[in-house]
């Protein structure tokens, strides 16, 4: 197989945040301290090497960037200050752009202006559409039920449409990821039943994020706060997504409180608000290694999320207090934040929600397949008795 080298690859990655890759002199210290590196998946040094050599087509088949959770010990350790942790992060950004077939992710990562303009555009379109619909078919002073400004059935249909669009894009991207990593990247045969054997890993990693916590296993003073907050943020998000996609009629019902539904909403809101405040504060204070360098897209993510939570809670409170007109206006504002944020999802860091569990799943399959192949080919492992 011919190996294609892209000498400009390192410059390209520079725009995704990996600035100091050239400094690396391959001592291997980063791998030594990495709690996730093992015999099969050796990183970050190898990824740094591939990057320095410009093996773009090779990197797109690797799973290593997804196995890194950026605890930052490699960057603390690095004698060259080449920042391997940030390099892995940048590779994840690049991979998101690479998996994305639309090319939007690439444009967002490379130009902050493009991203901000797109967000503002989508927000304005959403706002105008909602106002148009509300003033045409509803009454601004009614929040719920007959003649509502934004009736829940309409919102439900709207949600499902947006969800469908995102879902299709994500499925195509996930399929591309599978093709790159498991078809192009595998030179050995992968039995189909391995996919079934390791299927449980998908929900397991999705909901536990166990590996994020394992990041701390080698540290002397362990910091579990980022993992805990990240988990809270993620669970809050998933609960909210389910509520909005399935139970929107109940959620929007009022002014009485529907406890079986709303209690989840409250819990999720608490998780989201604590999470976003924690991450914004950490990024400002740069307390933990992984927060020391913030790409523009990281800021957009947390700040938008913060506003979504604030407007969501406000419109809920306004609805309970009977200020229906204000509640409706805030609702429109809320949707103006939600829709661009949701639509941005497959093209941003946020997509790691899907890619990470998939990567763990693929990694387990790959490891198993490698062990099987090794067993078949190495005569030393044959035991007669």
């Amino acid at each position: 197989m011919a190996i294609r080298v892209n000498p400009r690859f390192i410059d390209e990655l520079d725009r995704y945040g990996a600035e100091d890759v050239q400094l690396c002199y391959h001592c291997g210290d980063c791998l030594t301290v990495c709690p996730h590196a093992d015999e099969v998946f050796r990183f970050p040094r190898k990824s740094m090497r591939l990057l320095q050599m410009g093996l773009e087509r090779k990197i797109e088949t690797t799973l290593e960037p997804w196995l890194c959770y950026y605890c930052g010990q490699c960057s603390e350790q690095c004698p060259r200050e080449a920042d391997p942790g940030e390099t892995m992060m940048s590779l994840r950004r690049w991979l998101i752009a690479r998996y994305d077939f639309t090319g939007i992710a690439r444009a967002f990562y490379r130009s902050r202006t493009a991203e901000v303009l797109a967000i503002i555009g989508v927000a304005l379109l959403t706002g105008l559409f909602m106002l148009f619909y509300g003033f045409t078919y509803g009454n601004l002073h009614v929040y719920d039920g007959e003649g509502a400004f934004l009736p829940s059935s309409f919102i439900h249909r709207f949600d499902l449409t947006v969800g469908l669009v995102i879902g299709i894009i994500l499925i195509i991207n996930a399929f591309r990821m599978w093709y790159f990593t498991m078809v192009k990247g595998m030179e050995i045969h992968t039995p189909w039943w391995l996919y079934i054997k390791h299927l449980y890993l998908l929900p397991w990693h999705f909901f536990s994020q166990k590996r994020y916590a394992e990041c701390e296993s080698k540290r002397e003073t362990r910091v579990f706060m980022p993992w805990f907050t990240h988990l809270g943020l993620m669970l809050g998000y998933v609960i909210m997504l389910v509520l909005v996609m399935v139970f929107i009629e109940k959620l929007q019902y009022g002014p009485a409180i529907v406890w079986p539904v709303h209690i989840f909403g409250y819990l999720a809101s608490i998780g989201l608000i604590i999470g976003t405040i924690y991450f914004i504060r950490s990024r400002l204070n740069k307390t933990y290694v992984q927060f020391k360098k913030s790409h523009g897209t990281d800021w957009v993510f947390v700040i938008l999320l913060f506003f979504i939570v604030i407007t969501g809670i406000t419109q809920h409170l306004l609805h309970r207090t009977g200020l229906y007109m204000w509640a409706n206006m805030t609702y429109v504002l809320h949707l103006m934040f939600v829709v661009p944020w949701l639509l941005r999802m497959p093209f941003s860091k946020w997509a790691h929600m899907i890619y990470r569990p998939l990567a763990m799943y693929f990694a387990a399959i790959r490891r198993d397949a490698l062990y099987r192949a090794e067993k078949q080919f190495s005569s030393a492992s044959i035991t007669v008795k």
Partner: protein
């Protein structure tokens, strides 16, 4: 000649005011254009050739720290413009010693000389004046010993000032030298003895230089000689005093892995071969004569005088050689290697003493064993002659060297001595597993690469990949690293870890640089006059550097440099003329001389 002056990349010269130099060079004759291109510009030969054509230049001066780096692009641009490509002149600030107080004036002079196409070293020769015949050598390591012997054998008086109780320095602590595996003591001790016995060498041990005044060629030096408290002439080093001495402290000579008494001799072959009293730990000295005094009663020659006071000596010398050497980086700072936490993690110097045939185990390589200390009521880990030898040893290179956090430079000797350790371990312990974790193998000298190959063939696992973690699991040390060449992770259980610790200038270097007015480079080593052409001279007339204090180097290089210094000293003594300080020659003088030469 229509000249263009271009300033490129001024990195090290932090206190250089480039604008001032640029303004000065604009007023030089024939200078048409002056351009500051800044730091590391990407130069375009075509654009430069256009610039040359529009200004009609036929000479180019590139000024900066590394102007040679830009010479090709300027030559190309001259060729493109159809001019004489030989007329690209370099004005290198770094090479011609533009640093310290005189940096600005000197940088101007360098540009002026380049502008007139006159070699700087031809005109910037300070005046000569008579020199005193005697020489002072600060530091009695191998560099100081070699230089003093060279000068004294030529019949000139030498004062050798050494801070510790004996000369010999670090080399006396070593067992073998690389790559020949000669016994270090066999090379060094005859030299030490001849220093001790030489008529023309006045040895001052336990002494420090406290004050230097006077002018080049006639320095007045004040030397503070700490009280030895033992008469060097009558002491026969019988050792009876140390037998009765009740005070035990860590031995500096043994890299603090063994204990010595308060009255001690650093090692049996010390020169001068006499005991000395450590005033900081001796009970008698600390109690001002109230307690102890056991050694006074025991000494058969009655040569101990615990009430002796310090001696201050004033001498006048013509030349001064600095050979203050190095010390080890404090490896406790680098926490991941567990030095200080795990007992059997050793620094290279500690291992050197352990494996030395005259060391505390008689050259047996053993692990530390636990012993109960009655005094402190705690367990402590010590080397005892009956401890067990390690079954596997890991040697980790580049500890604190080539790192952005500690020393940015390569300490140069570590690779080779680590390989030597591997050989000694393999030689002394049968069936031992020895692992070398390295980043790049820097076997740079004569016979070094062959030595490295030989060590690999001896069965040492030489692993390309640095290890950054030493862990202790159930009393077993585990060293983990990446084997980059074989593409796998190495996790080895070891009984001993030897850290090849980086070197730093010795702690007195700063004082000496202040006393003598010598600049130091950013890493703390003394700056030589010109790295390539004049590696032993400094910008001060009659002051020279030799050995490690100028930068890390191995024993052959140190000895060679020491001999080179001796040649410089003898040149000035025998000709009777010494060179003045560089600062003594002013800018206008250099300009006038350069003009004279260029009009010839």
């Amino acid at each position: 000649m229509r000249t263009g002056v271009f300033f490129c990349q001024v990195e090290h010269a932090v206190n250089l005011n480039i604008d001032a130099i640029a303004k000065y060079s604009a007023n030089l004759p024939d200078v048409e254009t002056v351009q500051i291109l800044g730091r590391r510009p990407r130069l375009d030969a075509i654009a430069l050739s256009d610039l040359i054509k529009t200004n009609n230049l036929n000479r180019i001066v590139i000024a900066g720290d590394m102007p040679g780096y830009y010479k090709p692009v300027f030559t190309k641009s001259m060729a493109l413009a159809g001019r004489d490509t030989d007329e690209v002149r370099l004005a290198s600030f770094q090479e011609h010693g533009a640093r310290g107080d005189i940096a600005l004036e000197r940088a101007k002079a360098i540009v002026a000389c380049a502008n007139m196409a006159v070699p700087f070293s031809l005109v910037a020769v300070p005046s000569r004046h008579p020199v005193n015949q005697t020489t002072l050598i600060i530091g009695g390591g191998i560099a100081g010993i070699q230089a003093s012997l060279e000068i004294a054998n030529a019949g000139k008086q030498v004062y050798l000032v050494e801070q510790t109780g004996t000369i010999g320095g670090h080399m006396a602590m070593f067992d073998k030298t690389f790559p020949t595996l000669d016994c270090a003591a066999c090379i060094l001790t005859p030299k030490m003895v001849s220093v001790g016995q030489h008529d023309m060498i006045q040895l001052m041990t336990n002494a420090r230089v406290t004050e230097v005044s006077g002018k080049s060629g006639a320095y007045r030096v004040k030397i503070h000689q700490y009280a030895r408290r033992v008469d060097v002439k009558s002491c026969v080093a019988c050792g009876l005093c140390a037998e009765v001495c009740p005070v035990k402290v860590e031995s500096e000579f043994d890299a603090k892995i063994s204990l010595r008494k308060a009255i001690y001799i650093p090692f049996p072959q010390a020169v001068p071969n006499a005991y000395l009293v450590d005033g900081e730990s001796c009970t008698y000295v600390l109690s001002e004569g109230q307690k102890c005094g056991a050694c006074l009663k025991r000494c058969p020659k009655e040569c101990i005088n615990l009430n002796e006071s310090d001696i201050y000596t004033d001498i006048e010398v013509g030349n001064i050689i600095i050979s203050t050497g190095y010390e080890m980086l404090d490896v406790r700072k680098i926490e991941q290697y567990g030095y200080g936490r795990y007992p059997n993690v050793l620094t290279s110097l500690e291992f050197e003493r352990l494996t030395n045939a005259s060391g505390l185990t008689g050259g047996r390589i053993v692990t530390k064993s636990k012993r109960f200390n009655k005094k402190t009521q705690q367990d402590e880990w010590v080397f005892t002659p009956d401890s067990v030898p390690p079954q596997s040893v890991a040697i980790i290179h580049c500890v604190g060297s080539r790192s952005a956090k500690y020393n940015s430079y390569c300490s140069r000797v570590c690779c080779m001595y680590s390989l030597k350790f591997a050989h000694l371990i393999k030689e002394k312990i049968p069936n031992v597993a020895c692992y070398e974790f390295y980043i790049d193998m820097r076997a740079f000298g004569k016979g070094y690469e062959e030595f490295a190959e030989r060590i690999k063939q001896e069965g040492t696992f030489v692993i390309r990949g640095h290890s950054a973690s030493v862990d202790m699991v159930d009393g077993q040390m585990i060293v983990k690293g990446e084997d980059i060449m074989n593409d796998k992770i190495v996790e080895v259980k070891v009984d001993m870890v030897v850290l090849a610790v980086g070197l730093i200038p010795s702690h007195g270097t700063e004082d000496i640089s202040r006393l003598l007015g010598i600049t130091r480079d950013p890493d703390g080593w003394f700056s030589e006059l010109n790295y390539n052409g004049n590696p032993t001279d400094t910008e001060r007339g009659g002051i020279y550097v030799a050995g490690m204090c100028q930068g890390p180097k191995d024993i052959p290089d140190t000895v060679a440099q020491a001999s080179a210094v001796a040649a410089g000293v003898l040149r000035s003594i025998t000709s009777g003329k010494g060179i003045d300080h560089l600062s003594s020659i002013s800018l206008s003088e250099i300009e006038a001389r350069a003009k004279n030469i260029s009009t010839l």
